[in-house]
Amino acid sequence: MSDQPDSTVNVPYVPKTLGVKVGILLAVAAMVGASLVGYVLYARGVFDDFQRLTLIADNADGVSPGMDLTFAGFPIGRVRRLSLSDDGKARIHVRVPVTDARWLRTTTIFTLEVPLVGGAKLRAHTNPAHLQDPMLPDRAERPVLRGDVNTEIPQMVARLREVLDNVDQMTESGSSLQESLNNVRTVTSRMAGKQGMLGAALGSEENAKKLLQAIDRANTLMASLNGVSVRLDGVLAKTDQRLYGAGGIADETQKAIVQANAILGGVSASLKKVDAILADAQAVASNAKVATTDLAALRAEVEASVRKVGALIDEINRKWPFERDTKIKLP
């Protein structure tokens, strides 16, 4: 065994193809290695031109070098380093390749969002309408708006606790909500009882019963009142018949008045004749002979008229029963 090392040391025979193979291997490895280094440098942006931008935040929590600055979801720049300024503000130094710097305008707004899970996000927002604004100059300094879920959570929890306290007060025994619910329960249980809604509205079943009885009585009363009014109707109809029907009081009175009119017309004519006769009598004063013959006829006519008037008065008195004095005063 001891001679084996000697052979390896003294006979370093290497076939030519072996040397070529090893040469190829080393050359390829060297090329690949150089390419990898070149690729990494390219990825690092060593061969790009950059524009510098400094973002100023109150707090750079969650920001780290190498982080992307995104625009519309596309990374356009990278955080190079962080520093603290003299006034206590965090300065985030960003490098943006010149080719991507056109998205950054003087009106661009920068935000730093820190979500609950995952790294912080640095974003640039440029209103598409403002893409004609002047470009952001090199080494510009811009404030960054910060939206941090982690700092909002304690506020949210505090508010939630207030809400829960309120709910607690509302639901604890003796609270107004609890009492209201108890009342609702009483009402609904009454509604479910024998007298239903009435029981709920009147407070107890007895009251409901009384109300029902009162309604029954009112119904009976209404029925009897109905009978009374029917009878009253009949009475009124009869009265009507007596007063205004054929042969009724009114009818007879009308007839009597017509007759009275006729009689009075007769009296008037008779009196005109008397007037004429008296005028004749005056003329006849000298002619006594003619006068005495006409006077007998005149007396007969006057007496007939007086009889007619007396009959008329009697007739009226008979039909109009209120005047009992049957005396007639003659002129």
Binding site: M1, P5, D6, P12, L25, L26, V40, A43, P65
Partner: protein, 257 residues
């Protein structure tokens, strides 16, 4: 019979290792070390260590890469952390797993063989014979092996990283080139200056450890004492694993703690 563990714990052993490492590095970096015989030895060593295993190793690392990429990708998607999957894959696979795996593979593949070879030469007195003949055993026997091991580590690491990088892109974006810009951005984010320099340094240290430690520990075998050979080889491998582990831990600590 001393066990490898005992050799590891000897401070003298580490001191000698560092000393030898210093000499060997200087010698390996000086062009005069590479005579015709030394070059031939180095080429043979590289052929055995890197070329012969290259297809199998690339296949193995591709398989492992695909499994890791797929697991990270699908899990990240399931947890809604899709945006971080690529960065995670690059950090885990390219920065850590592939260099570590390559270093361990070469430690097993060549470290044990070189350690045993040197220990046997030591036992047989071949190295001392060289010295007596006026030739420096460091230059004639050791430097070519060291250079070959370091170059092998470099070749395999570079090629397997390139393959893993391509597989990552292919599994994330398919064969289209549309994802190149986004992919490049993430690569740029992962490899910032410190990480990149640290990564190159770590790979160099892995190569250095794989090349020197088995060889230096092989020298601890005693002349004529055959029974010391297994101990020396075992101690070399254990030291190598320990150093590779320490380098990895140190790089992780520097990066993330």
């Amino acid at each position: 019979m001393a066990f490898g563990g005992e050799i590891i714990l000897r401070p003298r052993s580490w001191r000698r290792l560092l000393q030898f490492g210093g000499y060997a590095t200087v010698a390996a970096l000086s062009p005069s070390s590479y005579g015709l015989a030394a070059r031939a030895l180095a080429v043979r060593q590289i052929y055995l260590t890197a070329w012969k295993v290259l297809p199998a190793y690339l296949a193995f690392s591709a398989l492992l890469s695909m499994v890791i990429i797929e697991i990270v990708h699908s899990r990240a998607r399931a947890y809604g952390l899709d945006a971080y999957a690529l960065e995670l894959v690059l950090r885990v696979l390219i920065l850590e797993v592939i260099p570590l795996l390559t270093a361990l593979f070469l430690a097993l593949r060549s470290g044990a063989a070189i350690g045993a070879e040197i220990a046997l030469m030591r036992v047989s007195g071949a190295l001392e014979d060289h010295e007596e003949a006026g030739a420096s055993p460091l230059h004639a026997e050791l430097v070519p092996r060291i250079a070959a091991a370091a170059l092998s580590v470099f070749s395999l690491t570079t090629l397997s990283i390139a393959l893993a990088l391509y597989l990552t892109y292919a599994l994330f974006y398919g064969t289209s080139v549309s994802g190149f810009v986004a992919f490049t951005r993430v690569v740029g984010n992962v490899f910032d200056l410190q990480i990149f320099v640290g990564f190159l340094l770590k790979c160099a240290l892995f190569g250095f450890a794989v090349a020197i430690i088995p060889l230096a520990t092989g020298l601890e075998a005693e002349r004529g004492a055959m029974h010391t050979v297994p101990n020396a080889v075992l101690a070399g491998l254990m030291k190598l694993f320990l150093v590779i582990g320490l380098i990895e831990i140190l790089s992780l600590v520097v990066k993330y703690v």
